[in-house]
């Protein structure tokens, strides 16, 4: 039942009403004044510069993606506590993250969303080659500079202008692996190559196949396998039957763990070069234990490279416990490269940042935290000084053992 709406009584100026109005007015004025004063007094804080990070926090790469995100946040903290971007008035970096869910479609939509919904100056990502190829495609079309540690050689092809790869390429990894094989083996190495049939495995192994003859290595088995298998025994059986004296495996973590364990179990005791991927992360050692001792691999960044790397490692370990691994460390360097570009561009405009990146030429500081200590890009976005490191698990630590000039420990022949 509706209540009959009462007529509003004619407004009357009661004393109470008057006082209340005055009081309200005073408060309002006071607030506004205070606000205005403080606003004028404090110099406007420099607007933050946004950068984007696209990593697979969930899905099959989730474990590594989450680790990358941790490192990305640490990197931004480091840049900001060193004063931010001085040419922009000390502007801090603001990292905007997105989870690409280890899925190509999500990568496509998320990259686009991230770039179009935010005013970004640059982005970095996405760890896995399969995903990064898409991030790069979108970045190229939307004209947003992208830095990535992904090794796929395809990222330097096709006339890309916005994709920058400061670290070693898959073809270079292959070269390093082959050379290491000769150092470890006595006589001509006979190598069995197994790789998972994904973008990462295929591009890495192709490099091996192409360069083996010239490097004096014989490939006796070259076998793609379906990632995520339940049982490595059939595969290892084949390895044994091939008469190989060494195994190169290009895999992510689970498969690698299974392969190593199965080899041990089936008594196939040949040296293993675990590539990068799942091999060079702390979890590999945790899962495989002592059987990881002496296993070699390759990485585009390692935590014992130089003093800067060690500093970053210490900071990371303090917060998260484990040592900082390849993809994490390299993205810290990339964050600093972006900061360097912003400094020189003196503008958050992505086009200017892109141009500044193209003319990047550093040999000290965190931006140069790469093997060899120097970064400079050619017109395909490739670092002209980029090369990989050979690493080995020694006493539970991943140490750099190759090339000779950059080794932090002796290569142990197993």
């Amino acid at each position: 039942m509706e209540k009959p709406k009462g007529k509003t009584s004619p407004r009357r100026y009661t004393r109470r009403g008057f006082l209340t109005t005055v009081a309200r007015g005073t408060v309002a004025t006071g607030v506004l004044t205070a606000y205005g004063v403080t606003a004028f007094k404090a110099k406007a804080a420099p607007a933050a510069v946004n950068i984007g990070g696209l990593y697979p926090v969930t899905g099959s790469f989730g474990q590594i993606g989450q680790a990358c995100v941790n490192a990305a946040k640490l990197a931004v903290q480091m840049v900001n506590s060193a004063g931010g971007i001085k040419s922009l008035g000390g502007a801090p970096l603001n990292l905007i993250l997105s989870d690409v869910q280890s899925d190509t479609t999500v990568t496509r939509t998320e990259t686009e969303r991230l770039i179009t919904s935010n005013k970004l100056s640059a982005i970095h990502g996405s760890f896995a080659s399969a995903l990064t190829l898409i991030t790069s495609e979108v970045a190229e079309r939307l004209k947003m500079p992208l830095l990535t540690g992904s090794s796929s050689d395809l990222l330097n092809q096709g006339g890309r202008k916005y994709t920058f790869t400061p670290f070693a390429r898959a073809s270079q990894f292959a070269q390093a692996q082959l050379r290491m094989a000769k150092l470890i083996a006595s006589g001509k190495p006979k190598v069995a190559v197994v790789f998972e049939n994904t973008a990462f495995g295929t591009s890495s192994s192709k490099g091996l196949q192409d360069q083996a003859p010239a490097a004096g290595v014989e490939i006796v088995m070259f076998e793609p396998y379906s990632a995520g298998f339940a049982d490595a025994s059939p595969l290892i059986n084949k390895v044994r039957a091939s008469g190989a004296s060494m195994l190169f495996a290009v895999s992510y973590l689970t498969d690698l763990v299974l392969i190593v364990r199965t080899m041990k179990q089936m008594g196939v005791n040949i040296p293993i070069n675990g590539g990068s991927g799942g091999f060079i992360i702390p979890d590999f050692y945790k899962n495989v234990g002592k059987d990881a001792e002496g296993l070699v691999g390759v990485a585009h960044w390692n935590h014992d490279m130089n003093a800067d790397a060690k500093t970053v490692d210490a900071a990371y370990q303090k917060q998260y416990g484990d040592f900082i691994f390849e993809s994490q460390g390299s993205l810290v360097a990339q964050t600093f490269m972006i900061a360097d570009a912003l400094e020189r561009a003196a503008s958050p405009d992505p086009q200017k940042v892109r141009d500044a990146l193209a003319s990047l030429d550093v040999s000290k500081g965190y931006a140069a935290m790469a093997p060899g200590g120097k970064v400079k890009f050619d017109q395909n976005g490739k670092n002209v000084y980029g090369h990989p490191l050979g690493v080995q698990w020694q006493k539970g630590n991943l140490v750099t053992v190759f090339p000779k000039g950059e080794a932090r420990a002796e290569l142990i022949k197993v």
């Binding site: 869910q101 479609t105 939509t109 395809l154 096709g158 994904t198 295929t202």
Partner: protein, 344 residues
């Protein structure tokens, strides 16, 4: 079966169509347009699936096979032979359609969930095959569509609007075909097969032929979607093209929305796609698995509560809200005629 439900007046349709057509002129947020494109695309795939799975109740969980075949055909033609995707899209759909013949012959030997499993198997088998074809179809690494800038003749657009209209058109075509099939003789046979295959056969329906024919149409349409998708995301690899999630979504939207109905897939997509996209942007990165858990819960709730899909719920609600007075025949006419004696 919701075939007896009266659709809203044509004026409503025209208004909605007008809004959709004019939308890209008004909305410029790329993210929003992207959601629309995805809604149209997945609704279209759902409509294609619905013909086979909703009306004829042949539960395929392997439609990704046709999606992928369409996508790869047009991409191979484009990159290896320079053929425009406008031709490629047709070629792809035809390839998909032809593939449905041997696949159907094999899989239709099983019924119900085992048909479903067999279809899952075929999609997976195709994925594995394409992973192996490294020389022919780029294997695991996949390939990106070469960038031509704004090239409408090569189905590439700088502005999203181009994709928006193509997807909208595809959906319209799919709905039109469904509408036509629903009201044709084929529609009746489909429903008969869907309700009871054996009874239909007993009554003289050529069940194998019906199944085969509707599968051809369903596969053809799904193949079209595959090509569009590749052109939209600029990338293809076996895992994306033959992804199980595509098969699932194709079926899911119809089940949530209303199997065997014209608008079911659309309703389902409208509910699921934006939810998924928004959940992704709000929760994405916070905790893995939240978004899909949400999806799963929605699905379970819908199945337990309204197994025939939400369309029934929506039309029921619509009836209650819009129709002020009950229309139709007075109650007494349906009552038993009084005094008619039964046997003896």
């Amino acid at each position: 079966m919701k075939r007896g439900v009266r659709p809203p007046r044509p004026l409503g349709y025209a208004a909605a169509a007008l809004v959709l057509i004019l939308l890209p002129r008004v909305v410029s947020n790329a993210f929003a347009i992207d959601i629309f494109v995805r809604v149209f695309l997945f609704a279209f795939i759902g409509v294609a699936w619905n013909l086979l799975g909703g009306y004829a109740k042949q539960l395929s969980l392997g439609h990704a096979a046709y999606f992928g075949l369409g996508a790869y055909t047009s991409t191979i033609l484009l990159i290896r032979f320079g053929v425009s995707p406008w031709i490629g899209i047709m070629a792809g759909a035809v390839v998909a359609m032809l593939a449905s013949l041997p696949i159907g012959t094999l899989c239709f030997r099983l019924r119900g969930p085992y048909f479903a499993i067999a279809t899952i198997g075929t999609a997976q088998a195709l994925m594995l095959l394409f992973l192996k074809f490294r020389n022919f179809a780029w294997g695991a690494e996949g390939i990106t569509i070469p960038y031509h800038g704004n090239a409408p003749l090569m189905m590439q657009f700088d502005a999203k609007a181009g994709y928006y209209y193509i997807a909208l058109t595809m959906l319209a075509i799919g709905l039109a075909i469904t509408y036509w099939v629903e009201r044709s003789w084929m529609g009746y046979y489909l429903v008969a097969v869907g309700e009871d295959q054996d009874a239909a056969e007993a009554v003289g329906v050529n069940v194998p032929r019906i199944k085969r024919d509707i599968y051809l149409i369903s596969a053809f349409l799904t193949g079209l979607a595959g090509t569009f998708y590749v052109q939209y995301i600029y990338f293809i690899d076996p895992n994306t093209a033959f992804n199980f999630n595509v098969s699932v979504e194709a079926a899911l939207v119809s089940i949530v929305g209303g199997v065997g109905t014209l608008w079911g897939p659309v309703v389902g997509t409208v509910l699921l796609e934006p939810t998924s996209a928004l959940a992704q942007s709000w929760l994405g990165g916070a905790h893995g698995g939240v978004q899909l858990t949400l999806y799963a819960v929605i699905l379970i709730v819908v199945i337990m509560w309204r197994p025939t899909g939400l369309l029934g719920v929506l039309t029921g609600a619509y009836e209650r809200i819009v129709r002020a007075a009950p229309s139709g025949v007075p109650a007494t006419a349906t009552a038993e005629p009084k005094g008619a004696p039964l046997d003896g």
